[in-house]
């Protein structure tokens, strides 16, 4: 059963990817869409498939994978089941970094400034969280620190967008807080994908260290895990994944919270096995969410965060409830 988990998830991601590129306001039959994609007759459907739907699906898979993986890593490293980049303000801080790069014209002068500023914002947030409520801090401290980081980055975001000379900027607070993959292009993929891939690779190298860490810091240190190095890699990897993804698609929350929980039992709670399946699960969940927003309100750009919070927030409350019962028992 457990051996089949990775292939099953991979097939699921493949199917959802296919569904994602077949859904859109044009309403063209699947066969015709695929033939337009592959053959490329130069007509409008080819353009839609290649320049709109394909980059959108690629970004959904990549960002979803990054968020699922970083959620699993944060939960493992902080040894806290409530850790998640969106909820703790890491995505919000990344959005603030990205918006600063865009509004100051830095991103216009140098395209790489966009993902790098997102990364810097996310890095600062994760650092603050790790310092305030590191592994020993406990669930409550972590959540409170997350509320602080979220509030500050949200306020900064609103301030920067309201100060923008662009009359449309202030209306886009929702995009940056809720996230959307509408009308993304290959240039967004080119900016975000390398950082997400690099970040994921960094995080996956720490799978064994995170497994050992479940025995406690002292035990981990005695087994040759360098805690300083672990922390450095977790910070940088999470910042790269969340920062670059948020810089092109806004903050997308709750994927990093839900996915590791769904898959924890199947991997017997072992971080080494949880990390890769969380990446696949995250990709599947974001692809599914991005399909759902297009089916619910076609052509109206319902934000991803709306749907994911409707699913994720009750789940979060359930986790808190379970933690309370565990405490009382």
């Amino acid at each position: 059963m457990n051996r089949l988990l990775i292939p099953t998830l991979a097939v699921l991601v493949g199917l959802l990817f296919l569904a994602s590129i077949l859904i859109g306001p044009a309403g063209v039959p699947a066969i015709d869409s695929l033939s337009a994609l592959i053959r490329g007759d130069g007509g409008p459907m080819t353009l839609v498939m290649r320049e709109l739907r394909l980059p959108r699906a690629v970004l959904a898979a990549a960002i979803g994978a990054g968020l699922g993986l970083s959620g699993a890593v944060m939960q493992g490293y902080l040894r806290n089941p409530l850790a998640e980049p969106g909820l703790l303000g890491v995505s919000g801080a990344a959005a603030l970094g990205a918006v600063l790069a865009l509004q100051t014209g830095l991103a216009g002068a140098m395209a790489l400034a966009l993902p790098l500023s997102g990364l810097a914002g996310a890095f600062v947030a994760v650092l603050v969280l790790a310092l305030l409520a590191g592994p020993a801090g406990g669930a409550l401290t972590l959540i409170l620190a997350g509320i602080g980081v979220s509030a500050l980055s949200g306020a900064g975001l609103a301030l920067v967008l309201n100060l923008s000379p662009d009359p449309f900027a202030a209306q886009e607070i929702v995009f940056w807080l809720m996230g959307s993959l509408a009308d993304r292009s290959w240039s967004h993929v080119a900016l975000a994908l390398p950082f997400i891939a690099l970040g994921c690779a960094l995080l996956l190298t720490q799978a064994r260290a995170l497994s050992v860490l479940t025995l406690g810091e002292d035990a981990a240190a005695s087994m040759g895990v360098s805690l300083g190095r672990l922390r450095g890699v977790v910070l940088l990897g999470t910042a790269a994944v969340v920062g670059a993804g948020t810089a092109v698609a806004g903050s997308i929350g709750f994927i990093g919270l839900m996915v590791p929980h769904f898959l924890r039992r199947a991997t017997r709670g072992d971080p080494a096995r949880l990390l890769p399946v969380s990446a696949l699960g995250g990709a599947a969940l974001l692809l599914a969410a991005d399909i759902a927003v297009r089916l619910i309100l076609p052509g109206r750009d319902l934000k991803l965060g709306v749907l994911l919070a409707i699913l994720g927030a009750p789940f979060f409350l359930l986790l808190i409830l379970r933690a309370r019962f565990a405490q009382n028992a």
């Binding site: 306001p25 044009a26 353009l47 839609v48 014209g105 662009d166 900027a169 240039s187």
Partner: protein, 288 residues
């Protein structure tokens, strides 16, 4: 009524009493101190007012007025359309747009200032009505009649120009695409500019005669012949996803983009005779 509403009314009343005077008298003579608080009434008033008659225009006019009126607009102090600052200018006539800050206009009327509201113009024909109405409001009927005569003559010349520039009966299928994916249909001023330039408006095919949002994918699938891209951002600085949409690679790779894009700018915004400049430019930009 809440305590706050009552308190604010008392405040307004006392403000009116202290600042008093100026307003209230029935208008028989032409107004001498006119304040405009809407970009479109700004421009109509700038064209029609006697020297010294217009005392303030909206802050938008300093940058957003059409080129021929911009110097005149910048010579006047700008207002941000706040009731307090407009009242302190002691105007004997306030010009407002139909949709400009309803609360402010209601407040000014309660303070006893005469306010005239102008509907947005939805066609080239509406521009004649607007000129007539503005002429009557400012007591400049003769000047309005002269401008209308010029406007008609220019329109006739433009129709002749169009006949020469485009021989075939069916013009290209064109679509206006602005920030956030907004497009204007045939019932809008922008749509009438397209019609006057001999273009068929794709928005009507999409069922958006009054204009609306079009998803980029739907726009590409409709496969227009010509694109008219909106450049509504007055500022080159700043950034928004809304305007970034107009730089999407899919749009740049479309057939219509490769045929050469036209742009819409501040000449398109308000119903003044200057929209004919926009029509003329559009005819040349979309000529075969």
């Amino acid at each position: 009524m809440s305590v706050f509403a009552r308190a604010s009314e008392v405040l307004v009343l006392s403000l009116a009493l202290t600042l008093g005077g100026g307003a209230g008298a029935a208008q028989t003579a032409p107004p001498a101190r006119v304040v405009s608080m809407n970009l479109c009434t700004d421009q109509l008033a700038l064209m029609l007012a006697a020297p010294g008659q217009l005392v303030s225009v909206s802050y938008l006019a300093h940058d957003g007025a059409v080129a021929p009126l911009r110097a005149a607009a910048r010579a006047l102090p700008a207002n941000r359309g706040l009731a307090e600052e407009i009242y302190l200018l002691q105007p004997d006539l306030v010009l407002a747009g139909r949709y400009s800050t309803v609360a402010t206009v209601a407040m000014l009327e309660r303070l006893g200032l005469p306010v005239i509201r102008f509907e947005p113009e939805n066609s080239l024909d509406d521009i004649e009505d607007a000129l007539t109405r503005m002429g009557a409001a400012l007591g400049r009927e003769a000047r309005a009649r002269a401008l209308i005569a010029d406007f008609r003559a220019d329109r006739a010349r433009l129709e002749e120009h169009l006949r020469q520039a485009r021989a075939e009966a069916d013009g290209p299928r064109a679509v206006l695409y602005s920030a956030r994916g907004w497009t204007g249909g045939s019932q809008t001023l922008a749509g009438d500019i397209l019609r006057a330039a001999g273009l068929r408006n794709l928005a009507d095919e999409l069922g958006l005669a009054w204009g609306g949002m079009v998803a980029l994918e739907s726009l590409l699938m409709a496969d227009p012949d010509r694109l008219i891209l909106g450049q509504p951002g007055r500022s080159p600085e700043g950034w928004s996803e809304a305007r970034a949409l107009l730089h999407h690679p899919a749009l740049r790779h479309s057939r219509a983009y490769r045929a050469g894009v036209a742009t819409n700018d501040r000449d398109w915004v308000c119903g003044t005779p200057f929209v004919l400049d926009a029509v003329a430019r559009l005819i040349d930009e979309t000529a075969p």
